[in-house]
Protein backbone atom coordinates (compact mmCIF):
# COMPACT_ATOMS: atom_id res chain seq x y z
CA UNK A 1 0.00 0.00 0.00
CA UNK A 2 2.81 2.39 0.86
CA UNK A 3 4.53 1.62 -2.45
CA UNK A 4 1.43 2.75 -4.31
CA UNK A 5 1.53 6.05 -2.46
CA UNK A 6 5.26 6.46 -3.23
CA UNK A 7 4.59 6.12 -6.96
CA UNK A 8 1.83 8.74 -7.19
CA UNK A 9 3.87 11.74 -8.24
CA UNK A 10 1.33 14.52 -7.78
CA UNK A 11 0.32 13.16 -4.40
CA UNK A 12 4.03 13.07 -3.45
CA UNK A 13 4.41 16.76 -4.30
CA UNK A 14 1.47 17.49 -2.00
CA UNK A 15 2.91 15.32 0.79
CA UNK A 16 6.29 17.07 0.40
CA UNK A 17 4.57 20.43 0.71
CA UNK A 18 2.57 19.38 3.79
CA UNK A 19 5.61 17.90 5.54
CA UNK A 20 7.40 21.17 4.73
CA UNK A 21 4.57 23.23 6.26
CA UNK A 22 4.80 21.26 9.51
CA UNK A 23 8.62 21.38 9.44
CA UNK A 24 8.61 25.15 8.90
CA UNK A 25 6.01 25.63 11.63
CA UNK A 26 8.15 23.61 14.08
CA UNK A 27 11.41 25.37 13.13
CA UNK A 28 9.76 28.73 13.73
CA UNK A 29 8.06 27.74 17.00
CA UNK A 30 11.42 26.40 18.14
CA UNK A 31 12.96 29.83 17.53
CA UNK A 32 15.65 28.48 15.20
CA UNK A 33 14.54 30.45 12.16
CA UNK A 34 16.04 33.44 13.97
CA UNK A 35 19.58 34.62 13.35
CA UNK A 36 19.94 35.55 17.03
CA UNK A 37 19.22 32.00 18.22
CA UNK A 38 21.48 30.27 15.66
CA UNK A 39 24.40 32.65 16.23
CA UNK A 40 23.80 32.23 19.98
CA UNK A 41 24.43 28.52 19.49
CA UNK A 42 27.60 29.08 17.44
CA UNK A 43 28.84 31.51 20.10
CA UNK A 44 28.01 28.79 22.68
CA UNK A 45 25.62 31.06 24.61
CA UNK A 46 22.21 29.60 23.72
CA UNK A 47 21.88 25.83 23.25
CA UNK A 48 18.39 25.79 21.65
CA UNK A 49 19.70 24.53 18.29
CA UNK A 50 21.51 21.53 19.81
CA UNK A 51 18.56 20.72 22.10
CA UNK A 52 16.23 20.57 19.09
CA UNK A 53 18.65 18.67 16.86
CA UNK A 54 19.57 16.07 19.47
CA UNK A 55 15.93 15.45 20.50
CA UNK A 56 14.99 15.12 16.81
CA UNK A 57 17.85 12.69 16.14
CA UNK A 58 16.97 10.45 19.13
CA UNK A 59 13.23 10.42 18.34
CA UNK A 60 13.73 9.98 14.61
CA UNK A 61 16.39 7.32 14.95
CA UNK A 62 14.43 4.98 17.21
CA UNK A 63 11.34 5.25 14.99
CA UNK A 64 13.02 4.73 11.64
CA UNK A 65 15.07 1.78 12.89
CA UNK A 66 11.89 0.09 14.17
CA UNK A 67 10.19 0.81 10.82
CA UNK A 68 13.19 -0.49 8.85
CA UNK A 69 13.26 -3.62 11.04
CA UNK A 70 9.54 -4.22 10.36
CA UNK A 71 10.20 -3.77 6.64
CA UNK A 72 7.85 -0.80 6.24
CA UNK A 73 10.55 1.78 5.58
CA UNK A 74 13.86 1.85 3.74
CA UNK A 75 16.87 3.79 4.94
CA UNK A 76 18.84 5.97 2.51
CA UNK A 77 22.19 6.91 4.07
CA UNK A 78 24.06 9.46 1.95
CA UNK A 79 27.40 8.55 0.38
CA UNK A 80 30.48 10.46 1.45
CA UNK A 81 34.25 10.69 1.46
CA UNK A 82 36.88 12.34 3.59
CA UNK A 83 37.35 15.04 0.92
CA UNK A 84 33.63 15.67 0.58
CA UNK A 85 32.31 15.40 4.14
CA UNK A 86 35.17 17.10 5.99
CA UNK A 87 36.17 19.81 3.50
CA UNK A 88 32.53 20.45 2.56
CA UNK A 89 31.70 20.65 6.25
CA UNK A 90 34.42 23.22 6.84
CA UNK A 91 33.29 25.39 3.89
CA UNK A 92 29.66 25.13 5.01
CA UNK A 93 30.62 26.20 8.54
CA UNK A 94 32.21 29.45 7.31
CA UNK A 95 28.90 30.32 5.69
CA UNK A 96 26.95 29.12 8.74
CA UNK A 97 28.91 31.51 10.99
CA UNK A 98 28.59 34.48 8.61
CA UNK A 99 25.00 34.02 7.45
CA UNK A 100 23.60 32.64 10.70
CA UNK A 101 21.04 30.51 8.91
CA UNK A 102 21.30 27.14 7.17
CA UNK A 103 19.33 26.17 4.04
CA UNK A 104 16.31 24.87 6.02
CA UNK A 105 16.15 27.64 8.59
CA UNK A 106 16.69 30.36 5.96
CA UNK A 107 13.52 29.19 4.21
CA UNK A 108 11.83 29.62 7.60
CA UNK A 109 13.46 33.04 8.01
CA UNK A 110 11.93 34.10 4.66
CA UNK A 111 8.53 33.14 6.05
CA UNK A 112 8.98 35.23 9.20
CA UNK A 113 9.99 38.34 7.21
CA UNK A 114 13.79 38.45 7.63
CA UNK A 115 15.09 40.81 4.93
CA UNK A 116 18.69 39.59 5.24
CA UNK A 117 17.49 36.07 4.39
CA UNK A 118 15.23 37.10 1.51
CA UNK A 119 17.56 39.60 -0.17
CA UNK A 120 21.00 38.38 0.94
CA UNK A 121 21.29 34.78 2.02
CA UNK A 122 19.00 33.06 -0.47
CA UNK A 123 20.72 34.76 -3.42
CA UNK A 124 24.14 33.88 -2.01
CA UNK A 125 23.20 30.20 -1.63
CA UNK A 126 21.94 30.00 -5.20
CA UNK A 127 25.03 31.76 -6.57
CA UNK A 128 27.29 29.45 -4.52
CA UNK A 129 25.53 26.39 -5.91
CA UNK A 130 25.82 27.73 -9.46
CA UNK A 131 29.61 28.06 -8.89
CA UNK A 132 29.68 24.53 -7.50
CA UNK A 133 27.77 23.14 -10.50
CA UNK A 134 30.37 24.89 -12.71
CA UNK A 135 33.44 23.39 -11.09
CA UNK A 136 31.86 20.05 -10.12
CA UNK A 137 33.41 18.16 -13.08
CA UNK A 138 36.90 19.12 -11.83
CA UNK A 139 36.09 18.15 -8.22
CA UNK A 140 34.17 14.92 -8.76
CA UNK A 141 37.15 12.68 -9.49
CA UNK A 142 39.71 14.60 -7.48
CA UNK A 143 39.01 16.05 -4.04
CA UNK A 144 35.47 14.64 -3.68
CA UNK A 145 36.81 11.13 -4.34
CA UNK A 146 39.59 11.29 -1.72
CA UNK A 147 38.96 8.70 0.99
CA UNK A 148 35.67 7.62 -0.57
CA UNK A 149 33.61 5.32 1.67
CA UNK A 150 30.24 5.34 -0.15
CA UNK A 151 26.91 4.86 1.61
CA UNK A 152 28.54 3.54 4.77
CA UNK A 153 26.78 3.50 8.14
CA UNK A 154 28.43 3.33 11.56
CA UNK A 155 27.07 -0.21 12.30
CA UNK A 156 28.37 -1.43 8.91
CA UNK A 157 31.76 0.15 9.56
CA UNK A 158 31.97 -1.50 12.99
CA UNK A 159 30.35 -4.69 11.72
CA UNK A 160 27.73 -4.88 14.47
CA UNK A 161 23.93 -4.95 14.59
CA UNK A 162 22.36 -1.52 13.86
CA UNK A 163 20.43 -1.88 17.14
CA UNK A 164 23.59 -1.82 19.23
CA UNK A 165 24.69 1.46 17.65
CA UNK A 166 21.19 2.97 17.49
CA UNK A 167 20.66 2.35 21.20
CA UNK A 168 24.19 3.35 22.30
CA UNK A 169 24.00 6.59 20.30
CA UNK A 170 20.55 7.29 21.80
CA UNK A 171 21.94 6.78 25.32
CA UNK A 172 25.00 8.90 24.61
CA UNK A 173 22.93 11.71 23.03
CA UNK A 174 20.45 11.61 25.95
CA UNK A 175 23.35 12.03 28.33
CA UNK A 176 24.67 15.01 26.35
CA UNK A 177 21.15 16.48 26.28
CA UNK A 178 20.85 16.03 30.05
CA UNK A 179 24.21 17.75 30.65
CA UNK A 180 23.25 20.66 28.38
CA UNK A 181 19.88 20.95 30.11
CA UNK A 182 21.44 21.00 33.58
CA UNK A 183 24.43 23.23 32.90
CA UNK A 184 22.89 25.63 30.35
Amino acid sequence: MLHQIHERQRLQLLIGFLIGVIFGFLLHKGGITRYDVIIGQLLLEDFTVLKIMITAIITGKLGIHVMAHLGIAELHPKPGSIGSSILGGLIFGIGFGLLGYCPGTIAGAVGQGSGDAIFGGIGGIIVGMTFFAGFYPRLAHTVLAVGNFGELTIPQKMNVSPWIIAISVAVLLSLILFLIHVYR
Binding site: M53, F92, F96
Partner: protein, 172 residues
Protein backbone atom coordinates in the same frame (compact mmCIF):
# COMPACT_ATOMS: atom_id res chain seq x y z
CA UNK B 1 -5.62 26.25 21.82
CA UNK B 2 -3.41 28.59 23.82
CA UNK B 3 -0.32 26.58 22.78
CA UNK B 4 -0.94 27.38 19.13
CA UNK B 5 -0.53 31.12 19.61
CA UNK B 6 2.50 30.84 21.88
CA UNK B 7 5.51 32.57 20.37
CA UNK B 8 7.94 29.77 21.26
CA UNK B 9 7.64 26.10 22.13
CA UNK B 10 9.98 24.01 24.25
CA UNK B 11 12.98 22.83 22.18
CA UNK B 12 12.23 19.27 23.32
CA UNK B 13 8.66 19.41 21.99
CA UNK B 14 9.93 20.82 18.70
CA UNK B 15 12.73 18.23 18.48
CA UNK B 16 10.31 15.36 19.08
CA UNK B 17 7.94 16.83 16.50
CA UNK B 18 10.72 16.95 13.89
CA UNK B 19 11.74 13.38 14.77
CA UNK B 20 8.18 12.12 14.29
CA UNK B 21 7.86 14.16 11.09
CA UNK B 22 10.90 12.31 9.75
CA UNK B 23 9.09 8.99 10.33
CA UNK B 24 6.27 10.34 8.17
CA UNK B 25 8.72 11.29 5.41
CA UNK B 26 10.23 7.79 5.36
CA UNK B 27 6.82 6.10 5.49
CA UNK B 28 4.78 8.22 3.12
CA UNK B 29 7.49 9.31 0.69
CA UNK B 30 10.39 6.87 1.19
CA UNK B 31 12.66 9.90 1.65
CA UNK B 32 14.70 11.53 4.37
CA UNK B 33 13.93 15.22 5.00
CA UNK B 34 16.54 17.37 3.25
CA UNK B 35 16.66 20.90 1.93
CA UNK B 36 19.83 21.88 0.08
CA UNK B 37 19.25 19.85 -3.11
CA UNK B 38 16.13 21.95 -3.76
CA UNK B 39 18.32 25.07 -3.81
CA UNK B 40 20.68 23.36 -6.30
CA UNK B 41 17.70 22.60 -8.55
CA UNK B 42 16.62 26.24 -8.26
CA UNK B 43 20.14 27.34 -9.25
CA UNK B 44 19.77 25.15 -12.33
CA UNK B 45 16.34 26.61 -13.17
CA UNK B 46 17.68 30.16 -12.97
CA UNK B 47 20.78 29.34 -14.98
CA UNK B 48 18.67 27.65 -17.64
CA UNK B 49 16.42 30.71 -17.78
CA UNK B 50 19.39 33.06 -18.18
CA UNK B 51 21.66 30.99 -20.43
CA UNK B 52 19.30 28.61 -22.23
CA UNK B 53 18.84 24.84 -22.30
CA UNK B 54 22.55 24.10 -22.92
CA UNK B 55 23.19 24.42 -19.16
CA UNK B 56 21.29 21.14 -18.79
CA UNK B 57 24.40 19.47 -20.26
CA UNK B 58 26.34 20.28 -17.08
CA UNK B 59 27.08 17.01 -15.25
CA UNK B 60 25.80 18.44 -11.95
CA UNK B 61 22.41 19.33 -13.46
CA UNK B 62 22.25 15.85 -14.98
CA UNK B 63 22.74 14.45 -11.50
CA UNK B 64 20.18 16.86 -9.99
CA UNK B 65 17.89 18.00 -12.84
CA UNK B 66 16.37 21.47 -12.37
CA UNK B 67 12.80 20.30 -11.84
CA UNK B 68 10.16 20.77 -9.16
CA UNK B 69 10.26 17.65 -7.00
CA UNK B 70 9.24 16.50 -3.51
CA UNK B 71 12.08 18.33 -1.80
CA UNK B 72 11.42 21.55 -3.72
CA UNK B 73 7.81 21.48 -2.51
CA UNK B 74 9.12 20.79 1.00
CA UNK B 75 11.09 24.06 0.93
CA UNK B 76 8.04 26.02 -0.29
CA UNK B 77 6.17 24.35 2.58
CA UNK B 78 8.81 25.47 5.11
CA UNK B 79 8.40 29.11 4.04
CA UNK B 80 4.63 28.83 4.35
CA UNK B 81 4.73 26.90 7.67
CA UNK B 82 7.09 29.40 9.25
CA UNK B 83 4.85 32.23 8.00
CA UNK B 84 1.81 30.55 9.62
CA UNK B 85 3.70 30.12 12.89
CA UNK B 86 4.82 33.76 12.83
CA UNK B 87 1.22 34.86 12.19
CA UNK B 88 -0.14 32.60 14.95
CA UNK B 89 2.34 34.02 17.47
CA UNK B 90 1.85 37.52 16.06
CA UNK B 91 5.60 37.93 15.39
CA UNK B 92 5.63 38.40 11.60
CA UNK B 93 7.47 41.58 10.64
CA UNK B 94 10.01 42.70 8.06
CA UNK B 95 13.40 43.01 9.73
CA UNK B 96 16.54 43.91 7.77
CA UNK B 97 19.19 43.49 10.45
CA UNK B 98 18.90 40.89 13.22
CA UNK B 99 19.09 42.37 16.76
CA UNK B 100 22.25 40.60 17.81
CA UNK B 101 24.15 41.62 14.65
CA UNK B 102 22.87 45.18 14.95
CA UNK B 103 24.03 45.54 18.58
CA UNK B 104 27.40 43.85 18.25
CA UNK B 105 28.51 44.64 14.71
CA UNK B 106 26.60 47.31 12.82
CA UNK B 107 23.01 48.50 12.36
CA UNK B 108 23.70 49.05 8.63
CA UNK B 109 21.35 46.95 6.45
CA UNK B 110 23.84 47.18 3.56
CA UNK B 111 26.66 45.58 5.55
CA UNK B 112 24.35 42.84 6.84
CA UNK B 113 23.09 42.07 3.31
CA UNK B 114 26.67 41.79 1.99
CA UNK B 115 27.69 39.48 4.85
CA UNK B 116 24.55 37.37 4.42
CA UNK B 117 25.22 37.10 0.69
CA UNK B 118 28.86 36.04 1.16
CA UNK B 119 27.83 33.61 3.91
CA UNK B 120 25.19 32.24 1.55
CA UNK B 121 27.80 31.61 -1.16
CA UNK B 122 29.88 29.54 1.30
CA UNK B 123 26.76 27.65 2.45
CA UNK B 124 25.82 26.98 -1.19
CA UNK B 125 29.26 25.64 -2.10
CA UNK B 126 29.76 23.78 1.20
CA UNK B 127 26.39 22.05 1.28
CA UNK B 128 26.81 20.71 -2.25
CA UNK B 129 30.46 19.83 -1.56
CA UNK B 130 29.40 17.81 1.49
CA UNK B 131 26.25 16.50 -0.22
CA UNK B 132 23.82 17.88 2.35
CA UNK B 133 23.09 20.51 4.98
CA UNK B 134 22.01 20.71 8.60
CA UNK B 135 18.71 18.99 7.69
CA UNK B 136 19.80 16.26 5.26
CA UNK B 137 23.04 15.43 7.08
CA UNK B 138 22.52 17.04 10.50
CA UNK B 139 19.16 15.48 11.32
CA UNK B 140 18.13 12.90 8.69
CA UNK B 141 21.60 11.47 8.04
CA UNK B 142 22.72 11.25 11.65
CA UNK B 143 19.51 9.41 12.62
CA UNK B 144 20.31 6.84 9.90
CA UNK B 145 23.77 6.54 11.49
CA UNK B 146 25.47 7.48 8.19
CA UNK B 147 29.22 8.00 8.50
CA UNK B 148 29.10 10.83 5.91
CA UNK B 149 26.48 12.72 7.92
CA UNK B 150 28.17 12.44 11.32
CA UNK B 151 31.45 13.63 9.81
CA UNK B 152 29.76 16.50 7.96
CA UNK B 153 27.70 17.77 10.89
CA UNK B 154 30.67 17.72 13.26
CA UNK B 155 32.64 19.85 10.79
CA UNK B 156 29.64 22.16 10.13
CA UNK B 157 29.71 23.05 13.82
CA UNK B 158 33.50 23.14 14.33
CA UNK B 159 33.84 25.57 11.43
CA UNK B 160 30.65 27.49 12.28
CA UNK B 161 31.72 28.00 15.90
CA UNK B 162 35.19 29.18 14.81
CA UNK B 163 33.76 31.56 12.19
CA UNK B 164 31.14 33.04 14.53
CA UNK B 165 33.79 33.57 17.22
CA UNK B 166 36.10 35.25 14.70
CA UNK B 167 33.34 37.50 13.28
CA UNK B 168 32.19 38.63 16.74
CA UNK B 169 35.75 39.11 18.04
CA UNK B 170 37.04 41.05 15.05
CA UNK B 171 34.07 43.24 14.19
CA UNK B 172 32.45 43.99 17.52
Amino acid sequence: MQWLVMERWSPYTVGMGIGILSWAAFLLSNKPIGVSTAFARTAGMIERFLRGPRVLEKPYYKKFPPVIDWEWMLVIGIIFGSFLSALSGNTFHLQWVPDRWSEAISPSPFLRLIAAFIGGVFIGIGSRWAGGCTSGHGISGTMQLAVSSWLAVIFFFISGIATAAAVYRIFS
